[in-house]
Symmetry: C2
Subunit: 253 residues, 2 copies
């Protein structure tokens, strides 16, 4: 079967948030990622090579188009198209702030790079963090670059876009952590098993309003401490080091 | 002054390794990064707005072109061009394997993504790792995307492209670490202040030949240990968690 120009145009249109939002959908590509997501999200449309389809005959899929690799590459947003692409329905989000009382959650204050967001979701998945609260200006999780970078983590980690000052203001007696250059050495600071870890924008860090609401200021020490180094870590890298240390402490208690 | 078409073409040509190699140069963009690199690398050519130049009159620069922001955007490889771009000469590398005897170094076995490589250089800089040994198939450090992602770390961290089996084979009594899904929990494993940490390719991990030469197999525990999660961490993320733990242990000794 061949792909219509309209269909290719539609898939490419999903690079833009407004088009994803209009239909409440998102795009994912590749056998590993699509395979992971098929069990978690409703699939509206799937385009695959005969090779992929021959291994997935058992799936109850509705709108399926079998294409050649060459045709797939015309629809794909990837540099190296991989056998299958699918359009999924965005799940409906139900926000329950009380998860912060009994589990460790992340909050992202205007993270802008889709690759960083996807990488953060992937590592949150690894470290058992199930909820990420994002400021309204944080990049859209359904950006195709974010989705690809999650490597399937988007199926397990839930994202909630909401005002962070309002969210934090609604919490009582909950530890709220953030990293700052003048924070306390994270390795000397007892870390809890619940609460919120706030990570900031790539260029500007955590915004002033949110900063005022953080009651545990942490610092990831560089090495050796007196050496001239870069001024900061990439936000996904810093998130990973912080989450790893929370989980190390939790496991050693 | 206006930019000639040839000059714009030349700058764009530096996206390709063979063109960078032909002239032994690389490209960097933005006031922060170019400012950092000017103190460390020889600059062959610089294109900047009057705003940037007015703040940098003191620099002894040779081939400088003042351009409008619009013209800069025609030369730039960035989505959002930033005041200045510069072409630098690649430094001559002098490899001295003995650094591994007395300091902690990284080895990258076919890391493919330029963003990952740049991010690893940036975090190596933070954690005081001054030498990274790369397998010949590792992506070129002078790829513009790598250079940008280092955020200046490329000025301090030295990269050496060499056969990893030969390198490791030449070492005696040096700990060689790598991360594996069946490795030992890194938090229960005493880590040394010298040696080599090997990180693998994004899709395939550490190659078979190098794997045989690793004498400390480590594992970054997920959380909680019995939960279904993604199967792996991004290579830059894993590198960060490992390096942070080496430095935590070193600082607490």
């Amino acid at each position: 079967m061949t792909l219509s120009k309209n269909r290719i145009k539609y898939i490419h249109s999903l690079e833009l948030k407004k088009n994803r939002k209009a239909d409440n959908v998102f795009l994912a590509e590749g056998p590993k990622l699509v395979g992971d997501l098929l069990g978690h999200f409703s699939c509206c449309l799937l385009i695959a090579t005969s090779e992929w389809l021959s291994h997935n005959r058992h799936l109850p899929l509705e709108d399926v188009t079998e294409v050649s690799e060459e045709e797939l590459s015309r629809a794909s947003l990837l540099k190296t198209p991989q056998q299958v692409l699918a359009v999924f329905r965005q799940p409906e989000e139900i926000i329950d702030f009380s998860v912060i009382n009994h589990s460790l959650c992340l909050a992202l204050d205007d993270v802008q790079d889709p690759g960083n967001l996807g990488t953060i979701i992937r590592l949150a998945d690894w470290f058992g963090i199930e909820h990420i609260f994002c400021s309204p200006n944080t990049v859209d999780v359904y950006n195709p670059k974010s989705v690809q970078a999650t490597m399937g983590g988007i199926a397990r980690v839930k994202l909630h876009y909401t005002s962070l000052p309002e969210l934090i203001g609604s919490l009582t007696d909950i530890p709220v952590y953030g990293t700052f250059l003048d924070g306390e050495n994270i390795y000397g600071h007892p870390l809890s098993k619940n609460g919120l870890i706030v990570m900031g924008n790539e260029g500007n860090g955590i915004g002033e309003e949110v900063k005022q609401l953080i009651n545990h200021k942490l610092y990831i020490p560089n090495y050796p401490a007196d050496r001239e180094t870069s001024e900061s870590l990439n936000v996904a890298i810093a998130t990973a080091v912080v989450c790893a240390e929370f989980r190390r402490q939790a496991a050693s208690l």
